[in-house]
């Protein structure tokens, strides 16, 4: 046991040092990506610490403070139920991040596995999968999500609508599949894959052990890029009344309903949620682009 702890102690500073050096290099080479990352971290902190930061309950109506403009009591004003906009934005970050990260991971993971499978097997399997992907790609991403969410309805577990996550993940799957397949085709042509097959390893083992790690870079880039897309989709679906429902705080939802009625009298009802969505999407896109550049060997040379 003591040897293990000693080992960890030895490896800890080394790993941290490598991480710190890598982070420093990323910050120097990708300043915009770093800015995006900082915004993402700030958003995550807001989501995690919403309970501690805000003095208000995000769902509690206060009829005495309906449509109150920004003031020391309500820094970003209140909505038509007297609910504090800042509080709802902070708790809305939780909704956005949870659904955004979960949907993006689910969609990219499923798409990645399909892409690896298509690349590994090639031939008819690849052809069939690509035709299927072509069909799904023909649908605009929002339309596909709308269809799925309308078909599957709601399935709320611990306040999170699992079907909404799945509905947002579905349009991501074919897009991730296409990218991962392209990367995996190069890996599939490597001699070590043939060597592994000749060595008698199973197909699943080869795909997961030898191919998947080698497409991790595009996977991570996709993951970060599609978080932005997922946040935007969640906001769009909530805006259309098919995502998160009142009185749960969600940025897209804050833009719909009464906000549309009161945008002239209480512009803060749409201004701040709109800014939050824009900033989050901008940050994830900046970070995703920078991550792609940073991980791409061509850019390094």
């Amino acid at each position: 046991m003591s040897a293990t702890i000693a080992g960890l102690a030895r490896s800890g500073p080394g790993a941290f040092g490598r991480f710190a050096r890598g982070a420093g290099r990323f910050a120097r080479q990708q300043p915009l990506g770093t800015l995006g990352l900082l915004v993402i971290l700030l958003m995550a902190a807001a989501a995690l610490g919403a309970d501690l930061v805000s003095p208000y309950d995000p769902e509690a109506a206060d009829f005495a403070a309906m449509l109150a403009p920004p003031s020391p009591d309500h820094i970003l004003g209140t909505d038509s139920f007297g609910r504090d906009i800042l509080t709802r934005l902070l708790f809305g970050a939780r909704t956005a991040l949870t659904i955004g990260l979960a949907s993006s991971f689910l969609g990219c993971a499923a798409g990645g596995l399909l892409g690896l499978t298509a690349a590994y097997w090639g031939g008819r399997v690849d052809m069939l999968l690509q035709q299927l992907v072509d069909i799904i790609l023909a649908f605009p991403i929002i339309v596909l999500a709308l269809v799925v969410v309308a078909l599957v309805g709601r399935n709320t577990v611990a306040g999170i609508d699992l079907n909404l996550i799945a509905a947002i993940a579905v349009p991501i799957v074919p897009r991730a599949e296409r990218v991962i397949r392209a990367a995996a085709l190069g890996v599939r042509a490597m001699p070590y894959i043939d060597a592994a097959r000749a060595g008698g390893y199973g197909d699943g083992y080869i795909i997961l052990r030898h191919m998947a790690p080698n497409v991790m870079a595009p996977f991570l880039v996709l993951l970060s890029a599609y978080v932005a897309q997922a946040i935007l989709l969640e906001a769009s679906l909530s805006f259309l009344g098919l995502g998160v429902t009142e009185p749960k705080p969600a940025w897209g939802l804050m833009l719909s309903g009464d906000s549309a009625n009161f945008y002239q009298e209480a512009p803060w009802m749409i201004l701040f949620p709109g800014l939050a969505i824009s900033l989050a999407v901008f940050a994830f896109n900046l970070f995703g682009d920078s991550l792609r550049d940073w991980l791409d060997p061509k850019f390094r040379t």
Partner: protein, 535 residues
Amino acid sequence: MTDRTDGLRRREALGLGLGLPALLWAGPGHAAATGEPKRGGTLIYSVAAEPPTYDLTATSTFAVMHRLAPHYSTLLQFEPGNYPNIVGDLAESWTEAPDKMTYTFKLRDKVVFHDGTPCEAADVKATYDRMRAPPTGVISSRQPSFAQIASVETPDRLTVVFRMKAVDASITDTFASPWNSIFSAAKLTSDPNYPGRVVMGTGPFRFVEHVPGSHWVGTRFDGYFRAGHPYLDGFRAITMAPSAMVNALAGRQIMAEFRGVTPNERDRIVRALGKDTEVEESSWMLHMICTFNCQKKPFDDPRVRRALSLAMDRWGGSASLSKVSQLGPVGGLVRPGSTWSATSAEMEKWPGYGRDLAANRAEARRLLKEAGQENLQLTLLDRNIQPYITAGVFMIDQWRQIGVKVDHQQVELAAWYAAQNSGNFEVLVDSFTQFSDDPTNVLVKYVSYDKAEVAVAHATDRELDRLFDEQGRTVEVAARKALVRQFETRAMDQAYAVPVLWWQRIVAMNKEVRGWSMSPTHMIYQDLSDVWLAT
């Protein structure tokens, strides 16, 4: 306008309305009724939804009424600008037997349908027979209204006699219902479902075209039985979402929308149109209801239902929500301000209507604890439009304060109806509207489910049913009011379904639209025969 009332009997049987401050609206009865009516012009107005059918017998939605009413006539009608007084429409006069068991109508002569054929007693009989005993394949939403009619007879071509099985105090209102439009007997004989496909009545406008999702057009019927009417050359009803409607009205692309807008939308329209705006306001014969599914636990327990009703601050909600939505007055089961409504003092005795909110909520918590439901969680099924969402959020906020957790499900209209009919819900944000304040028309929402399908709480309460039947047979107003109070008290106590708030009706239109009558229901005064344009 004089020919409308000349020689017609005023509504006396029920003693309703005359001299009583039955209405709350602030504006005049007729929209900008000043000036001599001018002929000509096309009225352009919007309707927020598409009509699911052309058959007035088969539906109850304003989306049908606001397009179809100009094409049809009824036996009687509510007098324009003088609700709830009733005058004749196709009927030139009518008599009522002293025992209220026979109603005899004398029809106007020389009334013709849009195809030129005469409209006579046989047409009235065929229409009413179709509504009260629909042939196979015909849907009649009106059937329950005619339960007390034994027969319809036509002793001559212009006389119709209704014989009753029992006294029905609401029957005069039923004869004036805008839903009971008269169809051609000859056409009904050849196709009992023709009203669902062909728009052909005796109303002031002939049907021209309907382009689904776009518009509905009618043109003046020169053979209309009221000389000089209609004033308009025609009308064009445009299908338009409420948000677009406000912009269209503000931008003068449409002249009116007759259902109603929110206070904020009214202000936007007034800001845009300035002195060219005409605003009419009234209480509305439409209320939001919290309906419990009494066949599902724990809502089969009256303590749970009563606790949830007790937790609602209706008075506070009314004061606040009326500023931002169409929700408005606090009321019981009948429209506040109507002949039949309870006073504030009477209401305050009902669970959830008392002014001491702290005491109400303490009692609510006690009831929940007694029922073993201190940690109650429920799913509230709601529509996905305003002001239903506002009502839902309000209820959730009120229940949160007694520790009840709510999952808010918002669904499309079809799913909302499907859940009501199948009983696949726990608690429902429900609503109910009617064309008149008559207690029989409105209390039917609160009787046993096996007595009325609209009573979607799926409850069975024979005492409520008895009171409902008894008030329906009681003609004397004071006695009937007492029965209505008993019904309300029992219904509030059992809380199978409880009113949340009543709606306020605000109609903002371009001032050039004249002669239209405001009322506490959006189902009447839509035949447009008196409407003219001051351009």
